[in-house]
Symmetry: C2
Subunit: 405 residues, 2 copies
């Protein structure tokens, strides 16, 4: 008997038929003797539809009210899933995030979980229920409804798995695991059987959509195992654990690309201490997630500063950028929407120098221009033009020996 | 300056445009110096659509999970309405029923409000907000989400109006007030300017859809004024107060018809004490709202017993009825879906005998057969066949002098 947390994303619960299929899977699991907690997302495109409704009303919805709105999506799913399980003759009970004690900070639309009060889940499990929890949402200590941002349901799953000390946290998705690159772009991409938390974290941070960064972070911090697998088969997927499991010979374990960022450049800044601090303070106050930052070499005491941020945050960037430009004395600012980030990830990079050189050579051979560069001990990211993305990813996948036979 | 509770139903908030129109109305009210609390329903047919989704999953959804599902409808509206008010530059904050301290019993799908903790509303008003509250919902002391049943948003409005001691509770609807009969059936029906709580209560109990019975009950018990008016005009509607305001000459103030009930007859029961008690105990346990009851004269120690109950409760009636029939030794049971209830209401009936005779004569002249009969001091109801409904309502409206010139 195992204590299992399983998470089903929006595509797995997109229709009543699919919800029934998930119910059958959960009931089978329960009948096999496991204790089961299921975390679910909003059905299909419901979150997008709700967001569209908000923007039909206003271009600048308050995040508190957006959370109030979006949190209804998961609440619909949990109720329907509980009904589907009852219909199969098993006990089940649904809980919203606030009900189940997912306590967050008050950063609406991207709240962070500060505590899991697991009592309600434990009691419901003890009463022989399959426990169903709304992903993506929680509440502050004052009872304000919050959401956890993109990939929030994964985060809920990982947080609950650690909160109730589950044996495994299974994340069901529409793909059958984590791949060495996006198979839609690289037909010869391979499924990865086991991967370390660290590498998975870098992949998620680099834009691999399979698992959310914060879910992997949670799992790493609490040494929890995540099993990322397909909702459509019973084949094992990818196990994410604390072990360093990269294959001996693979220096790079995956190539990840991400087209969700845009680049903003502030031109003609004074090159003096405190300017960057001011800029990123003001962006942080607007809740903008800055990713890469680069500052050019100074000419005549003036410099350019570029940063990337998600398209989702662009409205808030635009709100803040004029005030920022004025405050730091920038001559002008430019937005480039036409960029992609490409990252190589691999624990082996720590001990193998030369990855950078090989990456640049590979891209140069393809005549692809590199814009920004950023690195971590196990990751190397560059920004290229959107049009070059697929060619760059395929070339790197081949160059680093990741192609399937 | 007045403290105003205003309620907008589903048709008034059916689209983003209509939500914007409600926002404008509320902002105008606020700018005129009033303190404003708005109660809103789910948009358009959302509640019906959610219900359909539930029944696509199971024929017998648990009421707890149905409440979990349906309560999302109002939550969407409050968030969008708050955004629309922000867009107009006013302060606004939305609350779900549970957040705002609407404490109910645990009768899911038809919960009763047991307490209003008005602190959150008072604080939000003091902070200069237009306060928006989700109608139709609340939560038990254990934090379980409940809904208040049909007309629940009216009930929320009346309960909050009494809870914060509002000067008036305005119920905005798609009609411009309470009429002497349904104007879709009786073209010569007239708008009623003022009506007593008692009469309004009987009208609501008899199926007049304008105001929910429980909202009027709340208002009567706390001597609160309800103003029932149109969302589309600024004309005054109907004022419901404690005064006996029936026009001097009108014995009957309205004719109400209701096609939402079905009739169940248990045949061949033993005619002995306790049988009826057993039947209605068992129905109550299934949460069936029984309306009219009639028992035939006994023949050879056997009798028939008929009762009416809402179509909405029929599934639960069917669940219970075989066990009931067996328990009380009924020979068989029959369901008649093809009935309508027609009621005359008027405070003047207390002092004017002969209304019953006149009603029966009017229906007899129209060759309409009467099935069940029930009365209160200010109401007289009969059950007729569905096909006879419109003819019966028109004939009675004319006979009792209610026709508009």
């Amino acid at each position: 008997m195992a204590l299992v947390v399983t998470k089903f994303g929006g595509t797995s619960v997109a229709t009543p038929e699919k919800i029934r299929a998930v119910a059958e899977r959960l009931v089978a699991r329960k009948k096999a003797g496991d204790e089961v907690v299921a975390i679910v997302s909003a059905m299909g495109h419901v979150t997008d539809e709700l967001t569209e409704m908000a923007y039909a009303i206003t271009d600048t919805p308050r995040m508190r009210e957006l959370d109030m709105l979006l949190s209804t999506g998961e609440q619909v799913t949990i109720a329907l899933l509980a009904m589907a399980i009852h219909e199969l003759g098993e006990r089940a009970i649904s809980f919203t995030g606030p009900q189940v004690g997912i306590v967050t900070d008050d950063a609406h639309a991207k709240a962070k979980i500060v505590e899991i009060e697991a009592t309600a889940i434990r009691e419901a499990l003890a009463a022989d229920n399959i426990v169903i929890v709304a992903g993506f949402q929680g509440s502050t200590r004052d009872g304000e409804i919050t959401t956890l941002g993109r990939g929030g349901s994964d985060t809920t799953a990982a947080a609950i798995a650690t909160g109730i000390d589950a044996d495994v946290c299974e994340i069901y998705t529409d793909v059958d695991g984590v791949y060495t690159a996006d198979p839609r772009v690289v037909p010869r991409a391979q499924k990865i059987d086991r991967i370390s938390h660290e590498e998975m974290l870098e992949m998620a941070a680099s834009g691999a959509g399979v698992l959310s960064m914060r879910s992997v972070e949670f799992a790493r911090n609490h040494d929890a195992i995540i099993h990322c697998r397909s909702s459509f088969t019973s084949e094992p997927g990818t196990i994410v654990t604390h072990e360093e499991t990269t294959m001996e010979n693979a220096i790079v374990s995956s190539v990840v690309h991400d087209m969700s960022d845009a680049k903003v450049t502030l031109r003609g800044l004074e090159d003096k201490p405190g300017v960057a601090a001011t800029i990123f303070d003001m962006l942080a106050r607007e809740n903008v997630n800055v990713d890469m930052v680069i500052q050019n070499i100074s000419e005549e005491g003036l410099t350019d500063l570029s940063f990337t941020a998600p398209h989702d945050d662009l409205q808030r960037v635009k709100t803040a950028i004029d005030a920022i430009a004025q405050k730091v004395g920038a001559r002008t600012w430019v937005l480039d929407d036409n960029i992609a980030k490409i990252s190589l990830i691999g624990a082996g990079m720590r001990t193998h120098p030369g990855v950078t050189a090989k990456m640049f050579r590979t891209l140069a051979d393809e005549d692809i221009n590199i814009d920004l560069i950023s690195t971590s001990p196990i990751r190397l990211s560059v920004v290229v033009a959107t049009d070059d993305t697929e060619r760059a990813v395929r070339a790197l996948h081949t160059a680093f020996g990741l192609d399937h036979e």
